[in-house]
């Protein structure tokens, strides 16, 4: 590593990410795997209409239930003789669409609320109280509400999933804001009489971006699984539009006759989620040099022991309101929020 390592014992609260942080993403095997899978998934999602050998609802009643390996149908066909590979590619596209919409919603609504809550104590009371309550609310119940009012669709599913993730985003941005509020450069800006919007938008927000991106990689797999769940239940994307969840629901009906059809869509979901989970883990390690969870390279250097000083475990912050969002339905630990 050519750049000097920031010592993990440093008490300086605000640190710039290491230079070359993005390059270190691919330095660990798991980070590399995550990045490759992510690029692959993104390509499939974008290019699905061009690379799919058949249309997603192109039926061929002469060839239902073909086994994988059939000429012209690499993964076989379903009960209506539709090409499973093509539906799979379009399904990945739909999953990513819902995921991005949900992430977008969570970022757009969660970021301003997090900034407000982090900057003003008065707002914090209300916003944090609400996010505490909403943090673990079952998204399926939200989705049921949306479907009852607006009907089942890709948009309803994305709305329900996005709204369910707003509280986690609020928490992350709030934590960052509180941390940055006391940084020297923000104090300097305050001393120079900079307006509050200016401080929030030009000083605090840009420095919170990496935390927001990491949280987005947490939300994405949650939303992808959520979409497939809703579609599986009939509350999400509606047939004949392709969705991995719908494919699984169709496959369940014919599970005795064509068990292979139940395997591929699930594998596709697994790969998408693994991609984001691995990528997110690596990204967090790369962007945050003080991350409590050592990257594997650091672990090697210190002989398998982490060199970090003992930190207050993230989940024992002395306030139930500070229960971390870590693993709120997903894979990542967030660092303890300084208060």
């Amino acid at each position: 590593m050519s750049t000097p390592l920031v010592t993990t014992e440093s008490t300086e609260p605000v640190r710039a990410p290491r230079r070359g942080a993005l390059a270190s993403l691919v330095r660990t095997p798991l980070g590399l795997l995550g990045t490759v899978l992510l690029v692959l998934t993104a390509e499939v999602a974008v290019l699905a209409p061009w690379i799919a050998p058949h249309g997603f609802s192109e039926t061929n009643f002469a060839y239902p239930f073909q086994v994988p390996g059939t000429i012209g149908y690499p993964l076989g066909t379903d009960d209506l003789g539709r090409d499973i590979l093509s539906r799979l590619l379009y399904g990945v596209r739909a999953s990513m669409q819902v995921g991005l919409l949900a992430v977008g919603l969570a970022v757009l609504v969660g970021t301003p609320l997090g900034l407000l809550a982090g900057y003003w104590r008065a707002w914090d009371r209300i916003i944090s109280r609400l996010t505490d309550v909403a943090l673990a609310f079952p998204f399926l119940i939200l989705a049921v509400g949306f479907v009852a009012i607006a009907g089942a669709s890709l948009t309803s599913a994305a709305m329900a999933l996005g709204i369910a993730q707003i509280p986690t985003m609020v928490r992350v941005v709030r934590g960052e804001t509180i941390r940055l509020k006391n940084a020297d450069f923000v104090r300097a800006a305050v001393a120079m009489d900079a307006s509050v919007p200016r401080i929030l938008l030009t000083h605090i927000l840009p420095n919170s971006v990496s935390a927001i991106i990491v949280q987005a990689t947490v939300i994405m797999p949650t939303a992808v699984i959520g979409e497939s769940m809703l579609s599986f239940l009939g509350l999400g994307i509606q047939p004949p539009s392709p969705s991995l969840g719908i494919m699984l629901s169709d496959a369940q009906q014919y599970i005795y006759r064509a068990p292979a059809a139940a395997v591929f869509p699930g594998l596709a979901i697994l790969v998408i989620c693994l991609a984001f989970n691995l990528f997110g883990d690596a990204l967090r390690d790369a962007l945050d040099p003080s991350s409590a969870r050592g990257s594997s390279s650091r672990r090697r250097r210190t002989g398998g022991r982490r060199s970090t000083a003992v930190r207050q475990p993230a989940d024992t912050s002395p306030d139930p309101a500070a229960r971390t969002v870590s693993d709120a339905g997903s894979a990542h630990d967030t660092d303890g929020e300084p208060r």
């Binding site: 309550v133 943090l135 673990a136 609310f137 079952p138 998204f139 399926l140 119940i141 049921v144 509400g145 479907v147 009852a148 009012i149 369910a164 797999p221 699984i225 959520g226 497939s228 769940m229 599986f232 239940l233 009939g234 509350l235 699984l248 496959a251 369940q252 599970i255 068990p259 139940a262 395997v263 869509p265 699930g266 979901i269 697994l270 989620c273 693994l274 989970n277 691995l278 409590a292 969870r293 398998g304 982490r306 003992v310 930190r311 207050q312 475990p313 993230a314 989940d315 024992t316 002395p318 306030d319 139930p320 229960r323 969002v325 870590s326 693993d327 709120a328 339905g329 894979a331 630990d333």
Partner: protein, 318 residues
């Protein structure tokens, strides 16, 4: 402690009132006029007005809301438009199924998660840790309903070890009841177990590196004693936190799991109601689940303060 409990209960009550307002307004903003629907297409305006008065729909919103609240507390949740059955009765028959399933899944997740997490800590940098990490990562990334389908294929259809579907009342026949619930509970518990594994591992590693554990070791305390007195106590805090945070996931997961294994629980009731646009049932189910969510959250908060007194006293440890 009493003060803390009172504050928490008060907050929970306020939350419930807010949630009930949201649900009440939500249901009233649904498309369609119930009075018009009941009267039929050729009804005179007088007839529609009559029905509206009977249903109390001509009252001010606030009065309607209070009536709604009174009915909820007296256990009158209306009748299903689909079956004509009392909604309270429908919930009373389906709720136990979901509760048994969730409790069983929770037990599976806690036992498996804590065991795997501790194993990972015990064998740092060796095979068991790697295995536990991989299992946790896959457990988090795999959609549990897909796992359910695969389990049905392998364990129920091919090997015949477990029934693929069906429910036996746990109270009247505990052995068979739990046997029928085993596969669904394991499937529902998977992702929770994965989260618990990761956090238990992290918290155990954290605890084992603290000064007080080092002191305990220096005093000559045996490893199991240290594990139980310090390691598990700290893990317990983490555990309660996770359960609180994963509650929603567990409830959502239960709905899907019930669907896959054809269990006659609250999830099935919810889905049937949604597809039939059975609004009284939807409203009741959403209300009941929200109430359950608030009550369990309250329990988690209180439990949390028992395990970790610093929350109650406001004194933070350095």
């Amino acid at each position: 402690m009493i003060r803390f409990t009172a504050v928490k209960i008060g907050e929970a009550a306020i939350t419930f009132v807010l949630a009930s307002i949201v649900i009440f307004v939500g249901v009233r903003s649904l498309p369609g006029d119930p009075a018009l629907a009941m009267a039929g297409e050729e009804a005179t305006p007088e007839r529609v007005a009559q029905i509206r008065a009977d249903l109390g729909l001509d009252e001010p919103m606030v009065v309607q809301y209070l009536t709604f609240l009174r009915n909820v507390f007296t256990g009158d949740l209306g009748e299903s438009t689909r079956t004509g059955q009392a909604v309270t009765e429908m919930i009373a028959t389906t709720l136990p199924v979901t509760l048994w399933l969730s409790a069983y899944a929770l037990a599976v997740a806690v036992i498996a998660g804590v065991a795997l997490g501790m194993l990972a800590e015990r064998f740092r940098g060796r095979m068991p840790e790697a295995l536990s990490n991989v299992l946790a990562l896959v457990g988090l990334s795999v959609p549990n309903f897909w796992l359910g389908l695969l389990a049905i294929l392998l364990l129920a259809v091919s090997l015949g070890w477990f029934p693929a579907s069906g429910y036996v009342d746990v109270l009247s026949d505990p052995v068979r009841g739990l046997y029928y619930l085993t596969l669904p509970a394991v499937i529902l518990g998977t992702s929770l177990a994965a989260v618990i594994t990761r956090q238990t591992r992290a918290s155990m590693i954290e605890t084992m590196n603290t000064d007080y554990v080092r002191t305990a070791r220096a005093k000559g305390l045996s490893r199991p004693r240290i594990l139980f007195r310090y390691g598990l106590r700290n893990s317990l805090i983490v555990l309660v936190t996770i359960i609180g945070l994963q509650l929603g996931g567990l409830i959502s997961g239960a709905v899907v799991t019930e669907r896959i294994f054809a269990l006659p629980g609250l999830g099935k009731l919810t889905l049937d109601a949604v597809f039939a646009r059975d609004y009284p049932v939807i409203q009741a189910v959403v209300l009941v689940i929200t109430l359950a969510y608030i009550v369990i959250n309250l329990a988690v908060d209180l439990l949390y303060s028992v395990i970790n007194p610093t929350i109650r006293t406001g004194v933070s440890t350095p």
